[in-house]
């Protein structure tokens, strides 16, 4: 019995039990993570899981059931239970749910991978982390940490509309961080980002990061931060590094344009959105430099795939064009409710979770400047880079971010280092103040996006480049 057979049996069982639509995903995932501290391997974790998740639509109600058993009997039972769960939804019914047509897709897709991460010897991976963290420790990091993570996911998707799709997605990434501990002060510097950089690529991504070459610098900077002056409080010109820009996009644009949030489906937990569908196409989201795309087709970016978990083929779409809000992240049911004719942004964290609207690669198109040009054009400001903390309200409007490091900018030159930098603002006000944007774009990967109940962890990508903003409040402290 093939995995397609199991998925087909589950779908048929759901239909037999009264569903008017059903789909099923068989998934097999291998995961490996290693962490190191101060030159020693701290933990190696390897896991393997496989199972089937079935989604059924009965009347206007959805049901989902998942089991880690791929036998024909288990698949059929899961289909039946999904339909039964859907039927229970009718006790508190909503409007009739329909699905935006996407065509009965069939296909096969695999992410590009030069070096299979699981083929790289554990000893080599361990040596990489041990060497980098030893170097950081020797250069003064009290706590020198390194981490890599690998995911190898195979999926088989079948729907009652005729979808039959298989995908093989390999993802990996790594990072290091140095923590210096002073008298009542803890400072951290990370490379290339806190928790690292990730993509739908093979181990070549990790090799290109060249962690060892950056180890000493992170330790030196962490120690220097202990005695650096505090980031001043006030309103100033702010330049953000590319990695921090990626998180700024993720939190204050990506989540805000999720259609399920806009429709109120996440109101009690993740929250809603300050965006109103009536303003789609007309709302002035940011300055004319702001061009945000939803693009799961970017080779190697962490949010890339061939088809989403509803079987919709990957396609590029504008979310913000020259500052105007023009697109959302949608699924087939939410698109219908909103009167839209596109979907393609639905994914699940494993076979045991319900597919839901998730970011793919939501990124900012590069601008005409360079970071050096932005600094040179700034008389008085602050440059912040590498995220340290993030917090944003349930409408994705009010944010406060902290970064690991900042530098004063005076008369077009980068000056002294500043510690504990923070900045805060209101999304559209902030984005409208963006007046310079770099061309130095990188597709940053975020492997830890939490959403949904039960909780799901999503992998998202964010092409981003350094940018400059005006009149930003900085230096918020407790």
């Amino acid at each position: 019995m093939t995995h397609f057979d199991a998925a087909t049996a589950a779908v048929q069982a759901a239909l037999d039990a009264g569903a008017r639509y059903a789909d099923a995903r068989v998934m097999h995932r291998r995961y490996e993570a290693m962490s190191a501290k101060n030159g020693d391997i701290e933990e190696l974790s390897q896991s393997e899981d496989a199972g089937i998740g079935v989604r059924a639509l009965v009347g206007s109600g959805w049901g989902f059931y998942a089991v880690p058993d791929l036998s024909d009997a288990a698949a059929r039972a899961a289909g039946g239970r999904a339909a039964k769960t859907a039927a229970a939804s009718a006790r508190v019914p909503g409007p009739v749910a329909d699905l935006t047509p996407v065509g009965a897709g069939t296909g096969s897709w695999a992410s590009a991978c030069e070096i299979d991460p699981f083929s790289v010897p554990l000893s080599e991976k361990g040596d990489l982390l041990a060497h980098a963290t030893k170097t950081m420790h020797e250069h003064g990091a009290d706590v020198a940490e390194g981490l890599y993570q690998i995911w190898d996911t195979e999926k088989w998707f079948v729907s009652s509309e005729g979808h039959r799709i298989d995908q093989h997605i390999r993802e990996c990434g790594a990072g290091i961080s140095s923590t210096a501990i002073g008298d009542g002060e803890v400072q951290r510097r990370s490379y290339p980002a806190y928790r690292g950089q990730y993509g739908t690529r093979g181990w070549e991504l990790v090799r290109e990061l060249d962690l060892a070459a950056h180890a000493a610098r992170t330790a030196d900077e962490a120690r220097a931060l202990l005695t650096a002056p505090l980031c001043p409080a006030g309103e100033t010109t702010l330049i953000l590094g590319g990695e921090q820009m990626a998180l700024q996009i993720h939190e204050s644009v990506g989540h805000a344009i999720e259609l399920d949030r806009i429709l109120g489906w996440e109101a009690a937990f993740a929250g809603t959105s300050w965006l109103d569908l009536d303003q789609l196409g007309s709302l002035h989201y940011g300055s004319e430099l702001m061009n945000i795309t939803i693009d799961p087709t970017i080779p190697g970016a962490l949010g890339s795939f061939g088809f989403d978990d509803e079987g919709t083929p990957a396609a590029r779409r504008d979310a913000v064009r020259e500052g105007r809000w023009v697109g959302v992240l949608a699924g087939r049911d939410s698109a219908t409710v909103a009167g839209l004719d596109y979907a393609g942004s639905v994914r699940a964290d494993g076979w045991s979770r319900l597919p839901m609207v998730r970011m793919t690669n939501v990124g900012l198109e590069p601008g005409p400047h360079t970071l050096a040009e932005m600094v040179a054009a700034t008389d008085d400001g602050i440059f912040m880079e590498t995220n340290r903390s993030w917090s944003i309200d349930d409408k994705r409007l009010n944010f406060q971010f902290g970064t690991e490091i900042a530098y004063e900018i005076k008369n077009g030159r980068q000056g002294r280092m500043l510690r504990n930098p923070t900045y805060t603002g209101i999304g559209p006000v902030f984005w409208r103040s963006m007046d310079m944007l770099s061309s130095e774009s990188v597709a940053w990967g975020t492997p830890n996006c939490g959403k949904g109940q039960p909780g799901q962890i999503g992998h998202t990508g964010h092409p981003a480049a350094p940018a400059r903003f005006q009149h930003v409040r900085v230096g918020v402290r407790g």
């Binding site: 190696l44 899981d49 998942a66 089991v67 508190v92 554990l122 909780g455 407790g478």
Partner: protein, 453 residues
Amino acid sequence: MEDIARRVLEMVGPGVEAEVFVGHTALALTRFANSFIHQNVAEATTSVRLRLHEGGRTASGSTTITTDEGLTGLVRRTRAAARLLPPDQGWPGLAPPAPLAGEGNWDEATAQAAPDTRADRVRAFVDAAGGLETAGYCRTMHAAGAFANSAGQSVAGRTAEVAMDAIARIDGADGLARLASGRLSEVDGAVLGARAAAKARASTGAVELPPGRYEVVLEAPAVADLLQNFALYGFNGKSYNERRAFAEPGAEQFDQRITLVDDVLGATGLGLPFDADGTPKRRVAFVSSGVTELVAHDRRTAAEAGAESTGHAIPGGAAFGAMPASMRLEPSPATGAPVELGAVVDPAAAPLLASVERGLLVTDLWYTRVLDPKSLVVTGLTRNGVWLIEDGEITTPVRNFRFTQSYPQALAPGAVLGVGAEVTTVPDGWGAAWRTAPALHLGSWNFTGGASG
């Protein structure tokens, strides 16, 4: 499950220190928004986790494939990984045989709840909200686990939980009801729906107040966030060993009204009666009458600190550290019948309002993140209802704030003006931890800006 655990130990064979955990979780969650059920999910998963220490080297692995082939593969991969890793200098040894201190909470009706049972609670919540828009979930879950190691420790247990966490909304104002329990019969959708609706109605027309330091009464969901951050970071034994945590055992770091415990086996506790190392759970006091007693340890961090495990090992804890899963802030002794102050304030918090001359009643905190781990300075926002208190009475709803506040400083000696006499247990968003808390009256909370723009 005990059979699977024994089988895996046999596959590993002699001469290797090995431990196996077999867990079965059945989780079902009925989710609603815009006053109808829009997501209704269930899963039943059995997983096997193996950790072994061979030739001075440690590796761990897990699988959901419980066939002979799957288990053999788990053992083969984990042993192969151990051979390739460098020596583990911090290996603390396996947990010795020790009996459980209690069985944990179990309720058959909760464990066996059907989709209709959850849907009925949602129906009751929606109906009780009286036409207000509603959103949230009703969750039932049960977990059973068996642990065995080659040192002879063998324990098994089970637990069941029901949780309801939902809001009612009107004109952009939200009212919250959030409750977790070990017993299905204790979660009444109608009661919770009525409470959420009353708070939402009382929250309309909120005014903007200037940021600054305010006296506050935090209701249980807000206090739970303090406990969550203390559990994750403040009393984390690994962070303590690395000098990144604020906790200083033996020091009077909190107001004498503060006693903070972790108690899976107690009346309000939830979770399995042993930790990921196989160490039996017991009641642990982290803070007693303001004095920090200890931090949370698993066997590894305890060995490094020269201390005993407190029974707080979690899977993957070597990198993160130990974490209390069922933390409780002890209430103050009851001083009489609860005071009712109308619909806005939870009865458990009502008695604390009387002594507030000018302050804020805060229902919930949201998206809190640590800015400085050493002082546990946290930024976040208020959510689901804030009201101005003047001369002991609620006078007007207030729009949400952003705050930046050191949590230990908020509970420092002299900073706690009152502790409620009733506790509420609330779930976290992941079904992995629960926090039990009374309301708190605090002298100062640092609101750093308005949230609504």
